[in-house]
């Protein structure tokens, strides 16, 4: 279901405690702090292990998130814009992570470039409400998606390396 390296990555991301969505304005600020703390720790872990792969930031309210993610393939770095909204039912439902520039380029996507998650993601998320946050969604959702889809898209010539 979840491979050992993902399990290890996950176990090093702090778990969250506050169950609050963006409609509960006061408690949401507390949850948002937890989200940022978990994300900062996750990025630090990635940097230490030489597997740094994304940056995220949000609007003031913490309801809209955007940033970059990248994937190394044959020593070349392929970078994509990433964005998502925090749904009103968060954290009961996970954010739907989107890579808009790949919309229409792969069948493993829903409209608007939302990535198609595995069968395992949602049950795993549901079992871990409210402990999982954005950092976990990135580690369990987007990271494995990139690892499978990007090499395939490169091989098919659908995406090509761009010098940055």
């Amino acid at each position: 279901m979840v491979d050992d390296s993902t399990r290890k990555t996950l176990s090093n991301i702090p778990l969250l405690q506050i169950r609050a969505g963006p409609r509960e304005k006061d408690v949401w600020v507390q949850r948002l702090k937890e989200e940022y703390q978990a994300l900062i720790k996750y990025v630090e872990n990635n940097k230490q292990s030489g597997s740094d792969w994304f940056r995220l930031e949000s609007n003031k309210e913490g309801t809209k998130w955007f940033g970059k993610c990248w994937y190394m393939h044959n020593l070349l770095k392929y970078e994509f814009d990433v964005e998502f909204d925090i749904p009103v039912t968060y954290p009961t439902t996970a954010p739907e992570i989107a890579l808009p520039e790949l919309d229409g380029k792969t069948a493993k996507m829903y409209r608007g470039g939302k990535i198609c998650l595995t069968d395992h993601f949602k049950p795993l998320w549901a079992r871990n409400v409210p402990k999982f946050g954005i950092a976990h969604a990135m580690a369990l959702g987007l990271a494995p998606w990139l690892a499978v889809e990007v090499p395939d898209l490169i091989e098919k010539g659908i995406i090509t390396y761009k010098e940055k």
């Binding site: 948002l32 940022y36 900062i40 909204d85 749904p87 009961t92 439902t93 829903y110 549901a126 409400v129």
Partner: protein, 393 residues
């Protein structure tokens, strides 16, 4: 030069007649009808519906004109649902969808290739108004799950009824994802609105409808979603390279179930199903009732449950057993008993034991953990500092 002008004039004339012809086609839509007539003539669009009264199925069919239904998701199921309700002469339809019509949708019903590129709600509104100009159609082209649209969605379903300021009579969920279903669930629990959920599996061979009455039946957050067991070995199911398959048949059948039960509820006839499943592979239709979960995570669901418990229940009158039912044998040493073939083998299912009966939970329910054991670490860092720290990484 003059030749070219003549040629252009000829083209203009030709185009003019073409435009006129097109306009005539559009104009063929009939005028609005003030009252539903039961008169059986070819020109009466409601004669076969009003006949339901004469046949003693529906007491007062025309009440449908006072009803407002909100349809969330105007895709394979939602568009057909809207079509059916429009043909039935519903008073008002409110459509929500943020998607556009695509050629990839053409394996389903309702939309036509010339509508590709239009928003689904706009394309649907045009077709529906053409089919039945008596139906008032309101469209909202946005995603209900985001914070900026949710309040508008809430206000629309609570104040967009037939009489302004009144709630809609029924909400129908025809969406294709868990997030949107949970959003509708949250809204309907909060505002105590009855709604139907509908769904078709991603492999297109099963579907279901579920009636959710806040406090009375299970809400969508009470347990993991209940789905029809297809008895397909997960290992043989290939998902490579695709998100979802779909069939016009399964979608049409599901929409039919949905509207049939919506009509029964709105016009008060027959028995409304609480859960009705459909397995296309062996034409199996499981049916059941789901009780609410007293430990549901949605606090509005718990509130509605308390209100429901406090409300007096209608008394179900049971027939008194007649004298003939006296025991035939006074003693029964062997404990032999007769069980009617149609007697239910199990008491009403609860959400946690929803197995059997051809249904299964989409996944295992999360374990209920006791409240957080370790207190949250004391932290003085402000949110602004954290945001800045993340940004500078």
């Amino acid at each position: 030069m003059s030749n070219a002008i003549d040629e252009l004039q000829a083209i203009i004339a030709e185009l003019k007649t073409e435009v006129e012809e097109q306009r005539a086609v559009i104009r063929q839509s009939r005028d609005r009808i003030e009252h539903m007539s039961a008169e059986v003539v070819d020109s009466n669009p409601y004669s076969r519906l009003m006949a339901l009264q004469r046949m003693n199925i529906v007491k007062n069919y025309e009440r449908i004109r006072d009803k407002t239904v909100a349809i969330v998701g105007v895709g394979g199921v939602g568009s057909v649902t809207a079509d059916m309700l429009t043909r039935c002469g519903i008073g008002k339809l409110i459509l929500f969808d943020y998607d556009k019509v695509e050629l990839a949708n053409m394996n389903r019903l309702f939309f036509t290739p010339d509508q590709a590129g239009l928003s689904k709600v706009e394309a649907a509104a045009r077709t529906l108004t053409f089919i039945n100009p008596d139906v008032r159609i309101e469209t909202h082209n946005y995603n209900i799950t985001t914070i900026e649209n949710f309040d508008h969605f809430l206000n629309t379903i609570t104040g967009g009824g037939t009489v302004a300021g009144q709630p809609v009579d029924l909400v129908l969920s025809c969406v294709d994802n868990f997030e949107a279903r949970m959003t509708i669930n949250a809204a309907c629990n909060e505002k105590c609105l009855n709604w139907f959920e509908s769904g078709v599996s991603e492999n297109a061979v099963s579907g279901h409808i579920q009636f959710l009455r806040p406090g009375d039946t299970a809400c969508f957050a009470c347990a993991p979603p209940l789905v029809v067991a297809e008895n397909i070995d997960e290992k043989t199911l290939k998902r490579e390279g695709v998100c979802a398959a779909s069939l016009p048949t399964t979608m049409g059948i599901t929409a039919g179930f949905l509207v049939q039960n919506a009509l029964k509820y709105l016009l008060n006839f027959g028995e409304v199903s609480d859960y009705l499943g459909y397995n296309a592979l062996n034409d199996f239709f499981p049916k059941m009732t789901l009780k609410p979960n007293p430990q549901c995570d949605d606090r509005h669901c718990l509130l509605r449950q308390q209100e429901f418990q406090a409300r007096p229940k209608p008394v179900v009158i049971k027939e008194e057993p007649s004298a003939d039912d006296e025991p035939l044998h006074a003693s029964n040493d062997w404990g032999i008993e007769l069980v009617a073939e149609d007697a239910p083998t199990e008491p009403e299912q609860t959400t946690s034991t929803a197995g059997g009966q051809g249904l299964r939970l989409a996944y295992e329910a999360p374990e209920k953990t006791s409240s957080v054991a370790t207190p949250a670490p004391v932290d003085d860092t402000s949110l602004e500092d954290l945001m800045a720290q993340m940004k500078s990484m």
